[in-house]
């Protein structure tokens, strides 16, 4: 009850909750498409790679928004370019490009004359969300969700059967870079809540949990958003009540949810699968 009383009393906690809930929804929705397209590692890369953009914005004294966006998109384009022009496998290329970008960011932050707090960017602190941060998250979130809703059909078909999508004239490349843009925006929106190191967990974990629980894409997306909200709100509660780092608390709540689904999911859970396998063996033996 302490948490609820504090929620009524303290403004900063209300802001934290609104921001965390929006991030939960946003990550669940975009994360669903990310994992279905096999781009989990790409999500990790993009989120890390915004760091030099943020550092540059600090150096120039401007909002970190355009900087992060440019850095995220440059990384996506860079990965695409190296991929097409070398014999390296995709995961190696992603690893090379994003770690280079991340390292560049660390160097730039260390050069920054103002005392930029690297830890805050890397891990976020939802309890320190300012009103302006909250509005950035809400507006970016609404924008990304609007685009995802408008292009739902295109995202669906190009994730399931990219060859068919390209055959009938959809720009699958365009959709890929659109999703990369959305990933960058989601990272920026999640900066305060979970930070850039852990945002990938919010993208992947609720969506993966949902993937184990349903065989319908619309239901998976709704479920992922709901699980994202539960993780965010739950993590915020633990963070506030036990004075834990907010990002880590949020991610751990999400991971606990995944573990439950992994074990107990009705058709795709480990236990159910083993039971089915055993029954099949018994039947086979007659």
């Amino acid at each position: 009850m302490e948490f609820l009383e504090a929620l009524v009393e303290y403004d900063y906690l209300k802001k934290a909750l609104v921001t965390a809930v929006v991030v939960g929804i946003l990550c669940g929705v975009i994360g669903s498409f990310t994992i279905l397209r096999g781009l989990a590692l790409m999500g990790d890369a993009i989120s890390h790679a915004v760091l030099p953009g943020i550092a540059a914005s600090f150096l120039l004294g401007i909002s970190f928004f355009p900087g992060a966006l440019v850095a995220g998109l440059l990384t996506a384009l860079g990965i695409g370019y190296v991929n097409q022009n070398s014999r390296l496998k995709n995961d190696a290329v992603i690893g090379i490009v994003f770690t280079a970008m991340f390292a560049l960011g660390v160097v730039m932050v260390s050069l920054s004359p103002t005392s930029t707090d690297l830890t805050k960017i890397l891990f976020g602190n939802v309890l320190a969300v300012r009103t302006s941060d909250m509005w950035i998250t809400v507006i970016v979130g609404a924008l990304v969700l609007l685009v995802a809703a408008a292009l739902y059909k295109e995202l669906q078909v190009s994730s399931f059967d990219p060859t068919m999508a390209a055959a009938y004239g959809l720009s699958t490349k365009g959709l890929h870079y659109l999703l990369m843009t959305m990933l960058t925006l989601v990272t920026v929106a999640s900066l305060q809540t979970v930070g850039i190191i852990l945002v990938v967990a919010m993208l992947i974990v609720p969506a993966s949990t949902a993937y184990l629980l349903t065989d319908s894409l619309p239901r998976m997306i709704l479920l992922a958003a709901a699980l994202g909200v539960l993780s965010s709100a739950g993590g915020l509660y633990f963070s506030f009540s036990y004075n834990l780092p907010s990002g880590a608390a949020i991610v751990l709540v999400g991971a606990a949810g995944f573990l439950v689904a992994f074990l107990f999911a009705p058709t795709h859970g480990v236990i159910r699968r083993q039971l089915s396998a055993r029954r099949a063996r018994v039947l086979a033996m007659g």
Binding site: L36, V157, F160, M164, A167, Y168, T214, D215, S216, L217
Partner: protein, 242 residues
């Protein structure tokens, strides 16, 4: 000859400097069903993708009803190879068939009642109505291929390209698929199928295209799939391997 449905002129495609298809030219008339036959690595799938302009060719031109492919994409239905599909994707049979209505809808517009009715009707034609709500990966190979045929039907396309549609398919499904393809052909559709089984090819198709990187023969199926020609096509690959 009437205007060909598909016309391929001097098409050459390569991957990373290795040529996959060299200087292929042929025409397919409306209302014909052609088997694309050749040994593994002959460039059969590449040719289909080249016709769809999914791969940028090194040289050559493809026209559909006299127009560039880009202008008539919505009239071409494509059924991919089994291996190209993510069978764990959260989608059921009905929604897979519904994808066939997307090209005509265009970007942003959602499928409505009309589109759902088309999808249901097409699923019914391939005998899959009872499995409409089943996730695509839980179906048998033959059922999955029937659902993909339903998707092609829903597209109401004039041109249908299928990449090895009979791999991993039971005999009943295969008969049904062939029967539906014949009906489509007789109604005027132009159908190209990458086909593996030389025994059934002469029964299923009216035309054949024998490919081994280069076009070895093209014409009525009885004239193309002769023992001599087949020996030539399949031997050169053995010679290659040695």
């Amino acid at each position: 000859m009437r205007q060909p449905a598909i016309e391929v002129r001097n098409l050459s495609i390569s991957y990373f400097g290795t040529s996959a298809v060299t200087d292929v030219s042929f025409r397919a008339a409306p209302g014909t069903m052609t088997a694309i036959v050749g040994p593994n690595g002959a460039g059969k799938s590449t040719l289909l993708k080249g016709i769809l302009k999914l791969i940028e060719p090194d040289a050559g031109e493809v026209t559909i009803f006299g127009r560039p492919v880009g202008a008539v994409r919505k009239q071409i239905a494509y059924v991919p190879q089994r291996g190209d599909v993510d069978w764990n994707f959260p989608i059921n049979a009905l929604d897979t068939a519904l994808l066939g209505t997307y090209p005509r809808l265009g970007v942003f517009r959602r499928p409505g009642k009309h589109e759902r009715a088309i999808a249901r009707d097409c699923l019914n034609k391939v005998g899959m109505s009872d499995h409409a709500l089943q996730q695509i990966g839980t179906l048998s190979g033959g059922q999955q291929q029937r659902v993909f045929l339903a998707r092609a039907l829903a597209q109401q396309a004039d041109i249908i390209l299928l990449d090895e549609p009979f791999v991993g398919v039971d005999a009943t499904s295969e008969r049904l698929i062939v029967q539906i393809l014949h009906e489509l052909r007789d109604a005027g559709a132009t159908i190209l199928v990458v086909h593996h089984d030389l025994v059934t090819a002469t029964d299923y198709y009216d035309h054949a295209l024998l490919l081994n990187r280069r076009l070895l023969a093209h014409g009525p199926v009885g004239e193309v799939l002769t023992p001599d020609r087949l020996a030539e096509a399949y031997q050169s690959i053995t010679a290659h391997a040695l």
